[in-house]
Symmetry: D2
Subunit: 337 residues, 4 copies
């Protein structure tokens, strides 16, 4: 850790900090400059967290040398993690396609959509039973009834299923029905929920928050992994920027960054990342091209009637064309469906 | 509601939507233009939410005429709401100062800080027992033990106390100790938590999320109020932008906007809004000047040793100077401490 | 155009505006609602620009129906524009690769780099003679000397060359040496420069500004085209967001958006879009996958010694691997080098 | 300067860089850590700019210790700079009010507005003759004719006048008419223009770019000052963020930051910073409260008919009320009109 002192700090203030650094077993360094004094701490700087050196009035800024996350970093664990989604391996040779409606609405809608995506070659089913919505007047999901409908469609098609969990107290209920948990963008920093999922044995798809940096995302994953669950899939789904032409700004730069800095699989959600049906296919191709391990796609057997996000959902015919168009890019990336 | 159709849509597609509008009792309007067709719906457009007109493939964009929130809007409720924080009225003549440490650390720290802020004229006490932190390796708060320590300091000083609640299942526990709930930026869209707080009788300080628009904030407040709890205080605490010179970008434009569009009281948190001790006082003055009803300030009896956010905390001497410097601006605003 | 009036506006205020709409030959519409009055104007709403209806104190918001740009829009001009870069057609079947150093430094550097990119299959040469730099203490480019060196390398390799112009008064000088102009992100809204380039006959590569929306970019292109020069290539090069892990956030959503809304070719600059050498190749693949017509790549024969942006430049060996890795994605997109 | 090496870099790579540091007369430091190697350079790190150490493939990140600007920094020049705007001193005891229309439209409009703001107590006149506009179809200003009209109003009222210059070639023309130059947000990084203004003897009001950090703004000021003109006034006018409820997000955090890091005067433009007439007064009060040296306000004798930005302009009656309401905050700040 590098500590840049304010102009005019005294030797004594520097000594206070150097003594603190030494007290936790790191090697302190004193570097007086012509205009500023700089201090250093050599060793595992994570031990310094408890000292709160940033609080010292003589400190201007701190420049960490190491990443604040450890278990999810590629430095500590060079080999790719493979996540097992009830038989579907995410992060290996296969480019995984997880498809289904935004929200579970009723048994017929869920089953028709599930059969359609299964026919077309999707590997997993998605569908939300708990829907976090900006407005209290929007459809909020069917709750446990939705979980049952999703499970039923999953069993009838043989596709493993993923669904969002929005609250710690729901974890054990959702676990009974789903093959994997999804944590939505708004809950990426719901740390109690992350810890609860860290104590589950089922995989977790962790969506990046709308204003979360990639480092924030990796720290959120660290919460899950540090509680004992290494089966985490990271998901880029767009960030909030000044651009309003698309619902979010899909940050595909994040894909090579995350693959370089972490061993966890990374998937992309172009449905939320764009919010526009016509842009879902091009952005899924782009995701495959820049190294993603899969995509999360909203499909609805009748988007016009969808209770949530119909404008960004593909219908079965569009989804079939989507898979056909995506295939050459998956192959160009050396992957397969 | 105004519905802008895509170029080339047919009369029949327009009719489909016009019929839907009529079906919920609104008056449909058909406006064919030279390049685009525009449709309108006259009446209470919130009834249209269930129709999901945005899903129709012929629809390009929708321009709502009314705000999506209702109960919290000034249009529906012109008079200012006064929130009663155990005897301290927020939103009236008084400019309310809520002060205390970021985190409750131990009885001595809490009591010393509480006595100091009481002496200097603060009206309420703050202190966190549950701390959401980006890293799993940071201090996470004392939990119920912290609530007890806070309550004790509150009773010894006679100052009402506010504390953060991070989880639905904690609501009843926190309610036993605190005079008001605080919802942190990361939980502004934790809708289950908002609903639970809507069923409480204690006031809620709702902090704006890092990437939440002011409309998102008002919709979050609508969740609480629509469940039956009208005692909501909105809090601007900075948004996330490209500027990294300060921890967040304090969006003071939000103050006149929120006062114009809503009847709820609005306070400002310049400690998180800047993240820099020296900027807390100038930004608190600015908050008073542009119409805020109060401020939330981090004070610690010994910031150097603080377990959380010490670099943005004032010590008792600095807080005393803060109050002295703030007073002329509070008075210029026609308010009083 | 749709005009949403403030609550409480009078019939007379509405009449004032309706009369104005009628005065320029559009059909006015009056739609009184239960809570708000809405007005409409049917016809070519661009005629309304001179009326400044938004200034009227009774007006709350205006929702345009048509795009504010016209000549560059696909609605007005459905067929793709092909730009002729001295024999290299951009926007057709070929996926165009424009490569070279960030800055022209000296004849040897420019020629070695030019020969290397020519050998590897690049179609055009790039190199900056005028460098806009944040700090006055950074290298600012060689000026006319740099233009001569670039021209020389262009002629020795037979590759057409592109270079940045930063000032109206330089346009005729740059035109003597370059086959196409580049307008940098910082000059995207230098409207005097855009107009001057609109009076040239040489193509213009227009880079998106760091905080420009895609609509701003299309309006900037409209400046060039409306002065008489239809040979404009749009270039996505990353926007400024809260994410600092990469130099900019490459907004690839913009590619399908721009291709849908405009007939102009669109290329991508992954060197500036990421600022990280290792991410240039994956993001170029992603650009090809989502529909871009080409890429702009920084190559330097010795990046370690580069005077500008060496950390994001490829060396000749890396560039050769880049082309090999990119090819399958270009082919998957139905394009060719 | 602190240089953080990539994991796995060799001693030899470090030596290469250490030798470079030594070669420009700085003291090199070698700090091998348990996971990463860190290098340091002690002395005036601005000498390192020419070495481009960031290009070295072994370098991960660089953490500068000193600011990249020097002449404009308070460290190098502790006393406040006073700017003399033809007799009006900006940056001293007076809180300066610069008022006038967005655009000069005709002699009557300019003179009526000038007389009104003079009567009410404004210190300087503003008015644009060259208007950079997003759309080529918007009013672009009267050019030299506008400069003459502005000069005439300035002489008839005795108020010094400020006007925008958008192009290097216009500098000498504008200088003949104006008492100070304004550089607009879109030109904050038009470095050729900045240098030309640095060779003038008249003051420069430098507006912050929409996506410029405060450091970028100070570097832009450094361009002007380093060419020989120390008379620079910084102007915060709002940045572009995800929030669209206001035209821009006025970043008042920038005021205490700029006052702490620089000796230059700082003013605020709440008209552009909010884009909403009703928010101009509260945000001007906030600007005075947090330490600004003045404000720039759009006033038009008849905003309904304004050719540009009428919706954010005050009329003379509103401006008179503005001054009355602002006064107590100016006095609370220890300043005077």
């Amino acid at each position: 850790m590098i500590i840049i002192m304010r102009p005019g700090t005294t030797r004594q203030e520097a000594e206070e900090i150097l003594n603190q650094i030494e007290s936790v077993g790191l090697k302190p360094l004193y570097m007086p400059g012509t205009e500023r004094t700089v201090l250093g701490a050599i060793g595992d700087e994570r031990k310094l967290a408890g000292l709160h050196i940033e609080n010292h009035p003589g400190v201007d800024r701190i420049a960490p040398v190491l990443t604040p996350y450890k278990l999810v970093s590629r430095e500590c664990h060079p080999a790719n993690t493979l996540v097992n989604l009830r038989g579907i391996i995410v992060g290996g040779k296969r480019f995984t396609v997880i498809a289904g409606p935004c929200a579970v609405e009723n048994p017929e809608q869920m089953l028709l959509t599930a059969l359609a995506v299964k026919d077309t070659g999707a590997h997993c089913l998605r569908g939300g039973a708990y829907k976090p919505r900006s407005s209290p007047y929007s459809f909020q999901g069917l709750g446990e009834e939705g979980l049952k409908i999703l499970r039923d469609a999953s069993e009838k098609t043989g596709l493993p299923c993923v669904t969002e969990v929005i609250e710690t107290e729901d974890v054990s209920l959702v676990e009974q029905y789903a093959d994997a948990f999804q944590v939505g963008a708004r809950n990426m920093q719901n740390f109690r929920l992350l810890k609860a999922l860290g104590r589950s044995r089922k995989p977790v798809i962790l969506k990046r928050g709308m204003s979360a940096t990639v480092e924030d995302l990796l720290l959120a994953a660290e919460y899950v992994v540090s509680e004992g669950n290494p089966q985490v899939i990271l998901c880029e789904r767009g960030i909030r920027t000044f651009e309003t032409a698309t619902r979010n700004t899909l940050d595909l730069n994040a894909i090579p960054y995350l693959k370089q800095h972490s061993h966890l699989p990374v998937i992309v959600d172009p449905s939320h990342g764009t919010g526009v049906r016509e842009y879902v296919t091009p952005m899924a191709k782009a995701a495959a091209a820049c190294g993603a391990d899969g995509v999360l796609i909203e499909v609805h057997h009748n988007p016009k009637a969808a209770l949530s996000d119909g404008h960004q959902s593909l219908d079965p015919t569009q989804f079939s064309r989507f898979m056909d168009e995506l295939r050459p890019f998956v192959e160009a990336a050396g992957r397969e469906f």
